[in-house]
């Protein structure tokens, strides 16, 4: 049974805007799943329908087998949502917010108090539990929404840009926390504009564009489809012209920085061997752009498909203890402004 099963979901707003044009999507239980898309692609509408904040026009959605129309209470009991916008009472304390939220899910108050302590401590908010929430920093507010979503220990956790505006240190600690939650069996669906985040955390991915799912694959398969990657090499000694490497396109960015385009069929050893033969020492190397970002742009801008199959088989959800991330330590990449929601 899938954690989420969406079939033919459509949504047309009263102003005539068609936000979803027949979305089909399956997310397996235990998965850490990325849902990406540019501005207005339909991500938030899709999440809104699943969580009952938006009325759908057509289609069906099931959460752990519970139909959101026929068994809405059972379906909603399975979901925890961390929305994109802050949506808690700014005049209540974090402690009150999370304890009340547990109450809305039928958690007895004594249990809610224990969980409030557990999750507020895990998310480093325990010291701030008594003040009004408006006084929290941006990162704390985001963590409060995560704590709130976990109070009923949902089977499916949906995070809509949970780390937007959060500094790198906190973002990485949040990643670690989400990995642990996922490892304990919670299915996670993540939308984010930080593609490094999706690449690092998620095993499977769907890309939505124009109200349709345009790609659904396992993350590693999708990344392998990228034909050409550009590597930026930092050189020990200065160069005046780019070295000529047969079969590779090289560009000298400045006297100590060389860019080399490498296709999927070629390997890096060959490049290093040639550079070594030319007496060029490489101090460090990085991807010019995040690989996922490159594929994303190809898919949503209609620059052709990113490889052979447009709809590959999704990876089965891995054992809870398996490492989630396979991506390189690329510099944090965000969607270009034009592609952002």
């Amino acid at each position: 049974m899938n954690a989420l099963s969406v079939r033919g979901l459509t949504k047309t707003y009263r102003n005539g805007v068609q936000a979803l044009s027949g979305v089909d999507l399956e997310v397996e239980r235990g998965d850490f799943f990325a849902l990406l898309g540019p501005n207005g692609a339909g991500k938030t509408t899709l999440i809104g329908i699943i969580t009952s904040l938006v009325n759908k026009t057509g289609g069906e959605a099931r959460v752990f087998g519970y139909d959101i129309d026929r068994e809405p209470e059972a379906a909603k009991a399975c979901i925890g949502i961390v929305p994109q916008e802050l949506n808690f009472n700014m005049f209540e304390s974090p402690y009150t917010i999370v304890v009340n939220q547990a109450g809305f899910y039928g958690i007895p108050r004594a249990v809610a108090r224990e969980r409030a302590e557990k999750y507020l401590k895990q998310l480093q908010l325990w010291d701030k539990r008594r003040g009004i929430s408006r006084a929290l920093s941006g990162g704390m507010k985001r963590r409060l929404m995560i704590a709130r979503a976990l109070m009923h220990e949902p089977r499916l956790l949906i995070l809509d840009e949970p780390t937007a505006g959060v500094d790198i240190e906190i973002r990485r600690s949040m990643w670690e926390f989400l990995r642990e939650i996922n490892a304990r069996g919670t299915t996670i669906i993540l939308t984010t504009h930080y593609l490094e985040e999706a690449e690092t955390l998620c095993r499977n991915i769907a890309i939505i564009s124009g109200g349709r799912i345009v790609e659904r694959d396992r993350m590693s398969s999708l990344l392998r489809r990228l034909h050409v990657a550009t590597f930026v090499l930092n050189l020990r000694d200065s160069l005046s012209v780019a070295p000529r490497l047969d079969g590779y396109v090289t560009t000298l960015v400045d006297d100590h920085t060389l860019e080399v385009e490498v296709s999927a069929e070629e390997n890096l050893n060959d490049i290093f061997a040639r550079l070594t033969a030319l007496g060029i020492e490489v101090l460090s190397m990085r991807n010019k752009v995040n690989r996922l970002e490159e594929i994303f742009m190809q898919l949503v801008e209609g620059r052709g498909t990113a490889g052979e199959g447009a709809h590959g088989e999704a990876a089965p959800a891995q054992p809870a203890t398996a490492p989630a991330g396979t991506g390189p330590e690329a510099p944090a990449a965000r969607l270009p402004a034009g592609a952002r929601r």
């Binding site: 009952s52 519970y66 209470e73 939220q101 007895p108």
Partner: protein
């Protein structure tokens, strides 16, 4: 588990969720009432005191008896009911509209609570405030006049039903309101005139015949008189009819509020 609708047992006991969820909304509303007591309880107490001083002690002396009762004694049930009406309405309209405006209504909308529990929870919160303030104004009344109790169950039932009706009215107002102006329209242009013409300060028998007939259309007249009947044993209207109207109004408003919530009016796109 099969994916067929209805084949699976719910992951939680839904009745437990509903009951604890209802309690949570009421506790949260009570916490809000107490937290901002300067806005929720004190104003009505001050207003009632002023009414007793000006209308009761100063002007009331010249008015004399009303329906055979001292004027302060006559207006006391009406003033208590006026505070119940304005506070039960005001509590829900402010709290639910605030939740919509601040988006934290989504905390409940994404939860497994059915809409009727959300409506019931907010209505109960309004009843709590209406009765709390009503009790406070009763204490103020006792400082100015003697209040006998003729029919306690009538007092309790009329207080409960009136606060429930106006709490539900406040909920509907909040559901449709798109800005803070619209939150204030109904209390200012509808509730206040109806309350003042609802027999709080006078007996409708003092009015010309046509005005009496018009007054009987005013639901607040029936509520105030039923409440007054509980204290003084006199009423300008049939108490049985008043309770029938109140029960029907409460049931109808609850049904309308739940139906609108189910449609997503004012809360979902």
């Amino acid at each position: 588990m099969s994916a067929v609708a209805g084949a699976a047992a719910p992951p939680v006991n839904l009745n437990v969720v509903r009951w604890i969820g209802f309690q949570t909304i009421v506790i949260r509303e009570y916490g809000r009432i107490i937290r901002i007591w300067g806005q929720t309880i004190v104003p009505s107490v001050v207003t009632a005191t002023l009414y007793f001083v000006i209308f009761g002690s100063l002007i009331g002396r010249r008015v004399g008896a009303m329906d055979g009762f001292d004027y302060k004694q006559y207006i006391a049930p009406g003033l208590i009911m006026m505070s119940v009406i304005t506070n039960s309405y005001g509590n829900v309209v402010a709290s639910f509209f605030g939740a919509k405006f601040g988006k934290h209504v989504e905390e409940m909308l994404v939860s497994p609570l059915p809409n009727w529990v959300i409506v019931a929870g907010y209505a109960a919160g309004g009843v709590v405030r209406g009765l709390l303030v009503g009790a406070a104004v009763t204490v103020v009344s006792l400082l100015f006049t003697h209040l006998s109790v003729q029919h306690l169950p009538v007092i309790v039932a009329a207080g409960l039903l009136t606060s429930l009706i106006f709490a539900l009215g406040g909920f509907l107002n909040a559901l449709f309101a798109k800005n803070f102006d619209q939150v204030n329209w109904i209390p200012t242009f509808v509730l206040t005139p109806l309350t003042y013409f609802g027999g709080v300060f006078y007996s409708v028998t003092l009015l010309p015949q046509w005005a009496q007939q018009v007054s009987y259309v005013n639901p607040i007249l029936h509520m105030v008189n039923a409440f007054r009947f509980g204290f003084l044993g006199v009423s300008d209207v049939s108490v049985g009819l008043a309770f029938a109207l109140m029960l029907a109004a409460a049931a109808a408003l609850f049904a309308i509020a739940v139906a609108l919530m189910n449609r997503g009016a004012g809360i979902r796109e």
